[in-house]
Symmetry: D2
């Protein structure tokens, strides 16, 4: 199926296009020559902006996509014999075709995590075999904020993880492909979140950019190899100015936050509307831009005739609906109307 | 040094921006939602276009940059115990921070290659130890067309390599980051060139795109793992339509060829002008968009005050000057004038 | 703790030394010069013997240890984007410091497996995302026979796995570090077991050898890269004759089977004795050379003063006791006596 | 060809068997149970002995073979973006089937090295691109002592390399598969040699052991990950006592040095004899246990009918003859006699 949607897709926040302000910035950056690989004013401004926003003392690296950001970021914290503790549902575990294992050679020690959120207690279950050469040594805890299930860690929950990690010789990597949505939900600053990680990714693509993510290194000591590894991991863009320009647009007037707040609001509107539809069960708290719902299988098939979205767990009959910066209230309402119709149309 | 050039840079063909037609196509693709990861009409059209242009029977994969294209393409042809024969000057050897070794785990068997071009004779010197388990087994020959030195293999030269490889159980990978420049120089079709390789990259970025390359697999049998590896290698773009749109613009009315022909012409103009300047020696045949020249060290320093370019080999006092799709005759003439002045201004 | 046990250790079957017949064969092979790396008569004989015993149509490769055998064997069946389905308790997952991920770059898709044995039903739970480029593609099922818990798959159970795999495009790798113990328990031939795998390891070390394992490739088509990968994986012995000699001794008069049968019998004797000791619970069926038992924590500490063994799961208070080719009935009886004393001596 | 030689082979120092004292130590270690993986008295003694002999402040790790020692040792000194400078003729480059690239993902930056010996001047040619993210960053210089050509670095030569490296932010890895031969030739201690490296291997196998090498880490700071990586690299032996016993025998009464001195003397005797044979040219200084000689191709074929040895460079008609701890004067003399006969028998 290849398709430009005639209606709004609820399939993914990356089914959306590029925010007009971001597109404008890209077009405006297309002026004459510029040094390649990041030594250009657009990139410099973006990097400085993200450093300030995140409170990073280390460096910031623009990369091409989310997998690139995760692999680069994780790798900065890992020795060759070390392993990552993460939720079973973590993007790095389920959605990157084994990139962490292939590119970093690392082992992922997964824990089943309700609502996609790990806890010190869950982390502790994976700390067996430390000091025993037969075991890959856990060294990094990877958290996703907001999570793959559309939930958000509270700052207290993240702080508890950070403190547990500090006390147990573990570092924290934060997969922030949708970090903006968490900041919008929590009403906190990016620095509040970044300060609870050692290295994080800060996503642009799912938040209105055309295609750019940032790897943010909080402490200078973790920085030295990063730019070499970005190149080696095939994440160094030559005409980098067009990545820098995207982040500059997102950072101007806090567009990044407004986009995320809007997407969150649309997911909340969808969830609110679903509450009134019998036979549809929202299965995770709706705190970011995703709604996971359980429907009758027949309803799903019916709805997919007109709308684009993913069946998340076929056996459980659970679907994922995502909103984006450009979802309109009218999109949500039309979708709700069709969901209601589908739910009514199928005999349970 | 971070800089948006006030004058045309001769530093690299990726110091240039995005061709206006490419930028227009990107903007026009920004319309509503589209399925992510390539199942969109822009990508489909680009892939179909490149398949037709190259005569590929296998598949075409859009990726994010040149290193990504090289690593993905090479990997399709390599077993885990196999090695790549390439010129010492090959981009995969000198310019990718060891990505081939790190990401593929492969060994590069390099040969010194005059003018950047390898030959069956040079390849033959690296075929020792075949069948001996102590040796990484040569399996792929990588050629760059046009080469890192701005030279082009003739079709006969490529055919000789292909035939030698076929006779010796070797596959051919072609690094085509500047393949368009070779087609323009040789006056041949893309299919003429692609047909002499097993897998190739076809570069967009250095030829007017914002950032996109294609991996072209000539035979279907080499295809099966490619899309998984593209993801695993962190080269799968989510909002892929913006990659597809770029190639669509390049393919329309053979813009790819016109851009390359123009850049070649500007390099030729530069070389012609240099012939009249004493103390400047052009060190490789100028067949694509690059001019390598030997200057007095003092001349180099003088010129770099106003112009951006790379010193290629400091000990040999050789510089690299590159043109691009947007280089103007007046840029070349102004540069020539300054080169002449610098050459005259320094006492030898 | 470094220790040469004054009493028999029940810590591991590799706490035992070398069987006298194996040692004799090693000494006898120490005669004059021999070609290195396997082109010697001892290795040839061992390879031929193992091929015949296993019914392999492919080749047999002697390697240095169990991790080497597992990584080499698995790798023969895996593309770079492919994953392995195995039990959580699999040695490759828990005991090799992440070698599969590091050396092969592969992902392990684990399932919780009661008694250490996976089933078609458990395998099926891991077959999500096939054909979806975001998922590492399951390609190999790894079974351990006898298992890490001292249990054995029946031939029917293995056949069901093999048939399920064949029907689902999966290959079977068998970790046979203790394959001899399974053959002894099941009363079947090695070929009966090997025929239900595509590639297997056949362990010598835990069965009386000094240090040697074999990788057995059942079909010729899986063979070509194996000897190169053995070298690249640092598993090629130069003075290979001393590996070959070990297997020759094990194969002569079916010593491999007699050793395993003896170890099994000693474990059975231990289990039988335990049944009479209150407060000690045997937690897995005792079918090979291991007994897993739940004791009071205080009993464990008491016993470890005089005997060497591993606490398998501290939180569950479960220990592992292993026998070997050289365990004597009197060793078992003395151990049982001390267990009974410890169990009686601690107030619950 | 599989063959137990009826005459002494001059093919390799690993065509020899195991020194009787080493074999005796192995047999004597076969007494009852011992903790696996190195926590046994034999290993402890060997490790302590090698630490003392080498003057290492870091740790010593016994491994299974030379490739394992090289890969483990190099890896301790390398970040993921870093490269190794070594001679083209280095074993890690030519003889390990690409293990360094595959297992470590590192790039080897080779230099042509006369007599197999690199120099600060040669190293300096590979220090381009430092600080430039496009280049794999040179971090380690690997030297082989004695070299693959049977030559030895003087202590002054090694000191010059070490000082150059220290001044240039490089570490030194020493491949000491034949380090004993160098100590014997130079008349120096092992500590004299080890002190000029950061990490080294110390070979047992080619010097009379059955199969064992040591990785010696000179500074404690380089130690922490080593034992995990040894396991992950499949170099951890379970019945380690049999590795420890081998080194204990070699260290007792300096057998390691006597064995090496004897092999060196036999090579010297061979070289001396060759000087009197017209048509045979010794091509490298004979300083260890190897003699490289240029013969008429016809002579080579003639000699290989009765003697086992490698043609090193077929195009140059150069062969390699190696002696070992067990080569007898009479072996050398018989070989010389046949060489003379062959040389005389063929019309030039």
């Amino acid at each position: 199926m290849t398709e430009a949607a005639s209606r709004k897709s609820f399939g993914s926040d990356n089914h959306a296009g590029t925010h007009p302000a971001v597109m404008r910035a890209i077009v405006e950056a297309n002026t004459g020559d510029a040094i390649a690989y990041g030594a250009d004013p657009w990139t410099e401004k973006a990097v400085a902006g993200i450093r300030q926003l995140s409170g990073a003392q280390g460096e910031v690296y623009l990369v091409l996509n989310g997998s690139g950001a995760n692999v680069l970021g994780l790798g900065l914290l890992l020795g060759r014999h070390e392993a990552v503790i993460c939720a079973e549902s973590a993007h790095i575990n389920t959605d990157e075709c084994g990139a962490a294992e292939r590119i970093l050679g690392t082992k992922l020690l997964t824990v089943p995590a309700p609502d996609g959120k790990i806890t010190p207690e869950l982390i502790a279950t994976r700390l067996v075999g430390r000091g025993d050469e037969h075991f890959a040594q856990p060294a990094v805890v990877a958290v996703t904020q907001s999570t793959e299930y559309g939930t958000c860690y509270s700052l207290d929950e993240l702080r508890a993880i950070k403190e547990f990690c500090a006390a147990n010789g573990l570092r924290v990597f934060l997969d922030g492909a949708r970090l903006a949505n968490a900041a919008a939900y929590l009403g906190c600053t990016l620095a509040d979140l970044a300060g609870l990680a050692d290295v994080l990714s800060f996503g642009g693509t799912k938040n209105g950019a055309m295609g750019v993510e940032a790897v943010v290194v909080m402490q200078p000591a973790d920085t030295p190899s990063a730019r070499y590894l970005r190149k080696q991991h095939m994440q160094l863009s030559s005409k980098m100015r067009f990545l820098g320009a995207q982040f500059n647009a997102l950072l101007a007037d806090d567009l990044w936050l407004a986009n995320a707040a809007h997407a969150n609001a649309m997911a909340a509107r969808l969830a609110t509307g679903l509450a009134a539809i019998p036979g549809v069960e929202v299965v995770y708290p709706v705190q970011a831009d995703a709604v996971f719902a359980r429907l009758q299988p027949g309803h799903i098939a019916e709805l997919q005739r007109d709308w684009i979205f993913h069946v998340w767990d076929e056996s459980a009959s659970v679907v994922r609906w995502m909103t984006a910066f450009d979802t309109q209230e009218s999109d949500v309402d039309a979708f709700l109307s069709d969901i209601a119709a589908a739910a009514g149309a199928v005999r349970v």
